[in-house]
């Protein structure tokens, strides 16, 4: 059977123009009306891959590796500079269409317009508009001009339209950015549903967990080239090994922030593993978090605490000196506090670290640094991959 998507030796070159606003006069002088002074940049090179029917295919890579460009080529929004990419079916993308909305028109009118834009015919739209509106959860405002919508409502309506297109291939680019948690859940359910119907899905993500869970095969893009292709697990392993060795940031910019009155201030946070030269810590190793502080006045019984979140926001642990029964006494001047773990149970991945100092009642923050620090856990000796931690349990077999 003919594959759904077949890319052979695909390359995409961009011309980056140096001085964007060019006057007509200048263009005439250079005799290049439609050309800017440019440098060339190959966003993609020698890309070969095949996506079969009913397959969930992953594309992973760090920011700027060419993932989005590849998606656009598949969607037909851009054409490759060299090579061919043939797509045998209707491509749908899970996207935020709100940008194409007309503010003066009502929600329903915009649904009709944008559904047509995606290639639905009037009959199909008549069938689906009820589903679309219900999915978006804004039935009550559907006859209101969308300029009165909140940004969340706009986004939900935009996604609802694109997710109701009946595509042969669904392109999903970083789903987790969609609206509130409840709506995200519904989007993921819908993706599962389409997969169960035997549709192909292309999932672009830098979330390793998602790629592992959902994809059968994957490619890893690095600086525009396919670094590794194969089954998803293999590709993720190769990618993680690469990330471990180069200590590259896998995840984009972190959220978080810092607040507090700073009578006592956190001056530095140190992570100390078994190998002090390396910022990657292995599962099962010991790890010590050292919080350096400087108290500008004497503070009685401050509470030191920290929290670890997984990169997707899951709160894993949050110990502090009060709940652990450590009394800190009166603190003044500078010093440090240590939190030592002898056997980190965390599975490989990227984690965010928060540190904080509060008053004795944990009501008043002196210095709270929310997820401003990050560390990576390597796989060490464990082969476990499911979940968050390894409990180092022991199996025994009774026959």
């Amino acid at each position: 059977m003919k594959p759904l998507i077949e890319a052979s030796s695909v390359g995409k070159r961009f011309r980056i123009s140096h001085h964007r606003p060019t006057s007509l006069r200048e263009r005439f002088i250079r005799k290049q009306i439609f050309k800017d002074k440019t440098t060339e940049l190959w966003a993609l090179r020698d890309i070969d891959f095949v996506v079969r029917r009913g397959e969930v295919f992953g594309i992973l890579g760090s920011n700027g590796s060419g993932k989005s460009t590849l998606l656009r080529l598949i969607a037909g929004v851009m054409e490759p500079t060299i090579g061919t990419i043939s797509v045998d079916g209707r491509v749908g993308a899970l996207l935020d269409l709100a940008a194409g909305f007309h503010p003066e028109l009502t929600g329903l009118e915009n649904v009709e317009l944008n559904a047509t834009l995606l290639g639905m015919n009037p009959k199909e739209i008549l069938h689906k508009s009820t589903d679309i509106i219900e999915f978006s959860g804004i039935e009550d405002f559907i006859d209101t001009p969308v300029k009165y919508y909140s940004s969340g409502m706009l986004m939900r309506l935009g996604f609802s339209i694109s997710i109701h297109l009946d595509p042969d291939i669904l392109l999903v680019d970083e789903v987790l950015a969609v609206g509130d948690e409840n709506f995200q859940r519904r989007c993921l359910d819908r993706i599962d549903y389409l997969r169960d119907l035997g549709k192909s899905i292309i999932l672009v993500s830098h979330d390793m967990r998602q790629i592992r869970q959902m994809c059968s095969r994957a490619i890893w893009l690095n600086e525009g080239c396919i670094e590794h292709a194969g089954n998803a697990e293999e590709v993720v392993q190769a990618y993680l090994a690469f990330a471990d060795s180069t200590d590259t940031e896998i995840i984009g910019p972190e959220h978080g922030g810092r607040w507090g009155t700073r009578e006592i201030e956190i001056t530095d946070v140190e992570l100390r593993g078994e190998d002090p030269s390396h910022r990657v810590y292995q599962c099962g190793d010991s790890l010590t978090v050292r919080i350096h502080y400087n108290a500008h006045r004497a503070i009685r019984d401050p509470v030191f605490g920290l929290a670890i979140h997984r990169s997707d926001g899951l709160h894993i642990t949050g110990p502090n000196t009060r709940t652990d029964g450590v009394s800190t006494g009166t603190v003044e001047g500078s010093g440090y506090v240590e939190y030592a773990v002898h056997n980190i149970p965390l599975l490989p991945g990227v984690y965010n670290l928060s540190v904080a100092i509060y008053d004795s009642a944990i009501r008043h923050p002196y210095d709270h640094q929310d997820r401003l620090h990050r560390f990576r856990i390597g796989k060490g000796t464990t082969l476990e991959r499911e979940g968050v931690v390894t409990l180092r349990g022991v199996w025994s077999l009774n026959t």
Partner: protein, 274 residues
Amino acid sequence: MLNTSKTFPGRVHLLWEYRHLIGQLARRDVLARYKKSVLGFVWSLLHPFLMMVVLAVVFSYVGRFNTGIKHYPAFILCGYLPWLFTATSLSTSVRSIVDAGNLLHKVAFPREVLPLAVVGANLFNFVLALIPLFIYISVIGVRFSSMLLLLPAAILIQTLLLIGFSFILSAAHVTIRDVGVILEVVLLAWFYLCPVFYPPSLVLDQAPAWFSNFYFINPMATLMVVYRVALLNAATPNLDMRVYGLITVSITVIVLAVGWRFFLWRQRSFVEEL
């Protein structure tokens, strides 16, 4: 796959499949224009009618030019309404691609749809505006003749011509943003080169002979003469208008073909440039 077809029949077929989108986009333009007004859609009819009233009053009582033209207000409208169709189509369509920038990044659809929808919406408004004109013309006692058959032909030619121009303008504006500004000046000059307020004879009688040849190379000038023949049974200038009709048709075909080619050539880089 989309956007791969480069032949005209292939493109026409593709656009036919996207006819609903053109309709929806044109509908959006028409609806959005009167969305917040109390009378809403009625304005499409009322606007040309009120213009007619003003023109009739002005030219019947105030500034009585001795032009020797019968039904002068109707005469003006037969030139002015087609002119409005041209001017609004072009000045709106020139930005149609740039304004849709965000959408182009996300959804694949034949890009011609955007300028086509603009021309479509304006065509709709134009035809609607002809209704009060028809009523007015019957009221002042002009009898329609078989020349009325020229009206649909003229509308068709003008529409195709505008489509060709809008392809060129919208595609060029993506790369060279000066186009939009230049267009405004060109439209102003073009307006005075068209016989909207004056009969062509006024120019032709005073100008040297070679000028008249150039004068009707302007397809809008020829079209206005045709509109007046069709609607008002107006006398034609003392020239063989069939020749100029043929020239206008040829220009239309050339503009459309060249404009479309140009559009297809440029559209590859739309996404990168926006």
